[in-house]
Amino acid sequence: MNIRTFRIGGIHPEENKLSNDAVTQVAALPKQAIFPLSQHIGAPAKPVVAKGDKVKVGTLIAEAGGFVSAPIFSSVSGTVFKIDTAIDATGYRKPVIIINVEGDEWEESIDRSDKLEIVKAHPELTPEEIVNRIKAAGVVGMGGACFPTFIKLCPPPTAKAECVIINAVECEPYITADFRLMMEHADEILVGLELLMKGAKVTKGYIGIETNKMPAIELLTRKCAEAFSASEYSVEVVPLKQRYPQGGEKQLVDAVIRRQVPAPPAIPVNVGAIVQNVGTAYAVYEAVMKNKPLFERYTTVTGKRLQKPSNFLVRMGTPMKDLIDACGGMPEGDNKLLAGGPMMGKALTSVEVPICKGTNSVTIISGEEAVRKEPNPCIRCAKCVSACPMGLEPYLLAKLAAVKNWERAEQEDVVSCIECGSCQFTCPAHRPLLDNIRQAKTTVMGIIRARAAAAQKK
């Protein structure tokens, strides 16, 4: 087996895939569902319902608020309780639509059968039609970044797409939702990949999977041979060496097709690749073939002290508390509640935060592991430099941020930082490297934008 990986830096965090063998359960309906209007990168969605309106499962409740944006659909049937604010994953109160759940009545237009629809049987699906349906169904990147999927399929005129790469790496510790999805819905994922390839007008596809998921590699390799042997598409399952942050878009492109995306503002399609998460491929299948908008997803709920780490098929808007309770409740003592995994996940301030389009995991870190250690002086061991997958010098960037030397931080390419946390994970002195670097990155990006705006005025 030819195992590939990316070529700069990387670390090996303990994998802790506690819920690998937990077959996905359908989560119970919540009593009340909460829909933040900002669940994606770009402009917030605009509500199209009012207090007291009746909605069904799959009813549009907020439309896209701009080009880079995505509509939001109700995941439950019931009555709009109010349009208000609530604490979301950012820790701030943000606009939300709250729906009181009554029964479980779906829109008739949604095909709820299990029958596998294949692309060949639907000649009406032109590339434009596929992209439109993906856009209309509110599909966004399901790996956590939540970038609207249809935009990735329509690259800028300066770039030409050559292949679609399915990101099934799941390199974050703990998370198993993508693995379970692959084991349980391989056929649908491959149809989704074919739709993505057709929509992007390419014939080459790759599925990148780390070797800690051998059953998925074997299953998908077999299914690919069946599905694509006699078609114009060529799809390759690429086994990847276990290494973080391989699921980062740029790292994955480097690992799979051995090309490196240049520094920002370049994006993967500048080197010919369109990267989509495996969950996104599944959502695309459901959106295009089953006319089912994006309102439920696979989510892992996990933690070392959690009684029963599990995988759920969960309706969006369900408060995390419901899922945690279904796993045996919050562990005793102080915990850190994360939306996402331990490397890049966001620490939450409330258990009432709802599951959103990008919530691939609810991770609970307990006890000593939840508390940061006291930082020591930097001993200049250079381990952060070796760990950085972007070829940066984290020790230097952190120091420049601490003395607010933004000019030099820009020269040292701070904006290339992908905030993967490898430097801080590695640091033997427990220094908060990424805290400082993030601040420098945000500040420098602001300076760059201000400079561009000033240049435009002239």
């Binding site: 919050m330 258990v351 870190i365 940061r372 070829g391 801080q424």
Partner: protein
């Protein structure tokens, strides 16, 4: 339910700590320490113990009484390490008071005046050694012969010529036959050459290489600095030997003096060596080159410690100009 703890990502941390690295280097030094006990007996134990105790005590005292820090830093292992390395660089019959002066230079001047761990420009143990070499040239260049294990070996040792001084004599006289007095390569490799001598920690290349293997295995250091230093010395000394047989053969050159100790343990000091792989290669090659130059044509028979100190001074410059390959700069492959 307890409270929810909030902080920025990442929320996981590896198992690496400063202590793990420092004590790892100390473990890697143990084979060489045992060898020095075996060849130099009580003398080597007295020198090492004095040096370690003086370094640790000084660091504690400076922290407490001069810097008035509340947190003590002596548990991180770095002062113990400096003490051990300083001891390794000294003759095994050096009087206690001179060792203490060395420790004052190492910890006081070399480390704490710059702000303590992580801030020093020069390798503290080498600062101590260089200061002693300049201040006490006689005591610092007479080396006890091996095998004097008792207390007498410390107080009133019989001293001998080091292989390095034999090499230097050969160059000065231009007569290759002087080199016949050198021990054979295997004896040099094992440190077993009773008439010859040297600093107590540098005597056995095998023990030092075991330490290197341990540090590479535990990922405490990378190969770049030791390999580039030893490789450069080997090639440069080999060319000189080919051109003029009065220069010793390269195998003897890399097995003698402080070369292994310096390349494996002194030049690889985290704080004072460059941060990137390419920078470390430049640093290593330059140290190797300077070592051969000083050994052959300088006033002292040994050039390792001065070569490292000189390149310590260039480390900030190297860090400024030698950058890692950024993502996007690595060419595409098929």
């Amino acid at each position: 339910m307890g409270k929810l703890i909030v902080s920025l990502s990442p929320h996981a941390h590896g198992t690496d700590t400063v202590e793990r690295n420092m004590y790892g280097v100390i473990i890697a030094l143990l084979p060489a320490l045992l060898v020095s006990f075996y060849f130099f007996g009580i003398g080597s134990a007295i020198v090492c113990a004095t040096s370690v105790a003086a370094c640790v005590l000084l660091e504690w005292a400076i922290n407490k009484f001069m810097l008035k820090n509340e947190r003590t830093t002596i548990c991180d292992g770095s002062a113990v390490l400096t003490g051990l390395l300083l001891g390794f660089n000294l003759p095994s019959n050096l009087p206690i008071w001179i060792i203490i002066i060395g420790a004052i230079f190492a910890i006081g001047v070399g480390k704490m005046t710059f702000g303590g761990l992580g801030n020093n420009l020069f390798n503290p143990a080498l600062v101590g050694r260089a200061a002693l070499l300049v201040a006490f040239p006689a005591q610092m260049t007479t080396w006890p012969k091996e095998g004097q294990l008792g207390l007498n070996g410390y107080i009133d040792a019989e001293t001998g010529a080091t292989p390095l001084s034999i090499m230097k004599d050969a160059i000065k006289s231009g007569d290759p036959s002087v080199l016949d007095q050198l021990p054979d390569s295997l004896s040099l490799f094992l440190g077993n050459h009773p008439d010859g001598a040297g600093a107590m920690g540098e005597i056995c290349a095998l023990a030092l290489l075991l330490g290197l293997a341990y540090m590479l295995w535990k990922k405490i250091i990378t190969w770049h600095i030791p390999v580039s230093i030893i490789g450069t010395v080997f090639i440069f000394a080999g060319l000189l030997h080919l051109a003029n047989p009065a220069y010793a053969d390269p195998i003897s050159v890399i097995l003698t003096g402080g070369l292994m100790l310096g390349a494996i343990f002194m030049a690889t000091d985290y704080v004072t060596s460059p941060m990137t792989a390419n920078g470390q290669l430049i640093y290593g090659v330059a140290i190797g080159f300077l070592t051969v130059v000083i050994r052959n044509w300088g006033a002292y028979p040994e050039g390792m410690s001065f070569a490292i100190l000189i390149m310590n001074a260039f480390t900030p410059l190297i860090n400024n100009y030698v950058k890692p390959k950024r993502f996007g700069e690595v060419p595409a492959q098929n």
